[in-house]
C-alpha cells in the first residue's frame, strides 16, 4: 500500500497519454468559453514533464512531483500552467516518504489548496477547483473509511468527473469564461475536465499496478 516513485512517474506518463488523446476535446471545450488552447497547453506541458522525468529520473515521489510542477510552470503559460504547476509543487513539498494513502491524500489536498490560493477561485466558480475539491474530499473520506488506494482513487476519479460535469450549468466567475457572463452557462469547464482526467489517470495507474 505504499506509493513509490515509479508510481508517480507512471501517473505523469498516463496523464501525458490521456492529455494527448483528449487534446481536441479539451481544446474544443476551451473554444466554447475560452481561447481554444487548453488541450494544446497541457499537451505541451505534460510532454515536457515526460521529458524532464526521463532526462533526470527522480529518486523520490517528492522529487517527481516537484520536477513535474516546475516543468509545467516553466513550459505551459496561460492560467493552467501556474495553477497545475503550483499544485504539483505543493504536493511535492507536502509529501513525505514512504507515501501512504493518507500521506498522499494530505499532499493532494495541499495541491488543491495551492490552486485555490493562487487562483482565488472557490467551488462553484466554474474552474478546475470544482473537480479538484470533490476529488480531495473523496480521498479524505476514503482514508477515514480505511479503503485501499485503488478504490480510493476510483472514488476520487468519480468525484472529480462529477464535479467537472457539474460545471456545465454554472456561470463562470473566474478565468476567461467569466467574460462570457450568462453565455458561459451550458458548457463544461475545460480546466475541470482536465482535472478529472488527471485524477482518473491516478486510478488507471493504480489499477494497472495492482
Amino acid at each position: 500500500g505504499v506509493l513509490t516513485t515509479a508510481f508517480f512517474v507512471a501517473w505523469f506518463e498516463e496523464i501525458a497519454k490521456q492529455v494527448r488523446l483528449q487534446r481536441e476535446r479539451l481544446t474544443a471545450l476551451d473554444a466554447a468559453i475560452g481561447d481554444a488552447d487548453h488541450g494544446t497547453n497541457l499537451d505541451r506541458g505534460f510532454t515536457e514533464v515526460g521529458k524532464a522525468l526521463t532526462g533526470s529520473p527522480p529518486t523520490s515521489p517528492g522529487q517527481a512531483l516537484l520536477s513535474a510542477g516546475t516543468t509545467l510552470i516553466r513550459r505551459v503559460g496561460g492560467a493552467s500552467g501556474p495553477l497545475y504547476g503550483s499544485a504539483f509543487r505543493a504536493m511535492g513539498k507536502a509529501v513525505a516518504e514512504p507515501v501512504t494513502l493518507a500521506g498522499f491524500a494530505a499532499a493532494f489536498d495541499a495541491g488543491v489548496v495551492a490552486v485555490e490560493q493562487l487562483g482565488k477561485a472557490v467551488p462553484g466558480d466554474k474552474t478546475m477547483v470544482d473537480a479538484l475539491v470533490p476529488a480531495s474530499r473523496a480521498l479524505a473520506l476514503a482514508v477515514r473509511d480505511g479503503v485501499g488506494a485503488r478504490e480510493a482513487f476510483d472514488l476520487a476519479a468519480r468525484a472529480a468527473e462529477e464535479g467537472a460535469r457539474a460545471t456545465i450549468p454554472l456561470r463562470a466567475r473566474k478565468g476567461r469564461a467569466s467574460y462570457l457572463g450568462e453565455r458561459s452557462i451550458g458548457h463544461e469547464d475545460p480546466g475541470a475536465a482536465s482535472s478529472a482526467l488527471i485524477v482518473a489517470s491516478l486510478a488507471t495507474v493504480a489499477t494497472a499496478a495492482s
Binding site: 488552447d37 513550459r75 503559460g77 496561460g78 492560467a79 495553477l83 466567475r173 462570457l180
Partner: protein, 332 residues
Amino acid sequence: MKKLINTPESVLDDALAGIAAAHPELAVDVEGRVIARAGGPRPGKVAVISGGGSGHEPLHGGFVGPGMLNAACPGEVFTSPVPDQMLSAAKAVDSGAGVLFIVKNYTGDRLNFQMAAELAEDEDITVETVLVDDDVAVRDSTWTAGRRGTGATVFVEKIVGALAEQGADLTTVAEMAKRVNAASRSFAVALTACTAPAAGKPGFDLPDDEIEVGVGIHGEPGRSREKIRSAKDIVASCMDALLDDQPLAAGEETIVMVNGLGATPLIELYVVFNEVAAVLAAKDVTIARSLVGNYVTSLDMAGVSITVCRADADMLSLWDAPVNTSALRWGA
C-alpha cells in the same frame, strides 16, 4: 485551416527568427523568447517590459525600442508567456533602476507575471507591476476575472515608455501607467472568428449576417451576438458602451485608437474612425491624437476595437515624445 506557417508548433519560433532577421536593431532571443532592444540597459533608466500571448502582433514585440518598451515576452499563441521569459527579460534590461511589468488583466498573464516578479525579486531586481484592464465589454465585478486588457496597452506602453526614457523613477513610471489605464476604455466587435494554428478551426461560427459584440482579443465569443448593421450604427453602440462607462465632457481631449483585429481592411478602419470622430465632435470632445491601423490584433479576426483615452497635458506631451519601434515611430 489555411495559414502561411510551417507547423502549428513552430509558428512562434519561426516568427521570432523572422523578427530577428528583419530587425537588426533588436536583440531577439529566439530560444528564450525575449525581444529586447539591442545594446543592453541604459544606466539609471527604469526598464519597461511587457508580454502576453502571441497572435496580437505588432503587440508587444513591435513596440520594443527607444521611447517605448525595453523588452517583450511573447507566449505561445493566445497563451501568456512563462515566468522564465520575464525573468530573463528583466535580467537583460534592468539597469538597477527597476523594472515595470505591464500586464494585461488575464488570469494567465497575471499569474505568470506574478511568479516572474517573485523570481526577479529573488535576484534583487525591483519590480512594479501594472495591470491594464480597459475593456468595458466585461464588467469588473465579483462575477468576473475583471476587465480584460486590450487596446489601452498601446497607450500605456507608449506614454510610460516616454516617461521612463526621460529618467523618471520606478514609482513615477508605475503611477503614470495606472493613470493612463484608468483614463482608457476599449470596446470591440468581431465580424468573423479567428483560427488559432493549434486549434485548426475558428473559435466560433458566425453566420453571414451576424457580428459578435464585445469580444476580446483571444478569439473568445463576445458579450452578445447581433445582426450586422452599418458602420455608423455599430460605432454608435460601441461609443455608448465607452461613454457610459467614462463620460467625457465638452472640451476634453482624447487619444483615440481605431484598431483592426487582423483581417479588416484599412479602408474600413478609416470609415469607422470617421464615425467615431463624428460621435465625439457632437459632444465637443477633441481628438487630440489618433491611431488608425492594426496594433492589437487577434490573428485573422475581422473586426475593430475602439479605444479612447481621456488625455491630460502630461500624457499628450509624452505621447508626442520620440518613439522608434517597428510598429510605432515618430520624432526619431
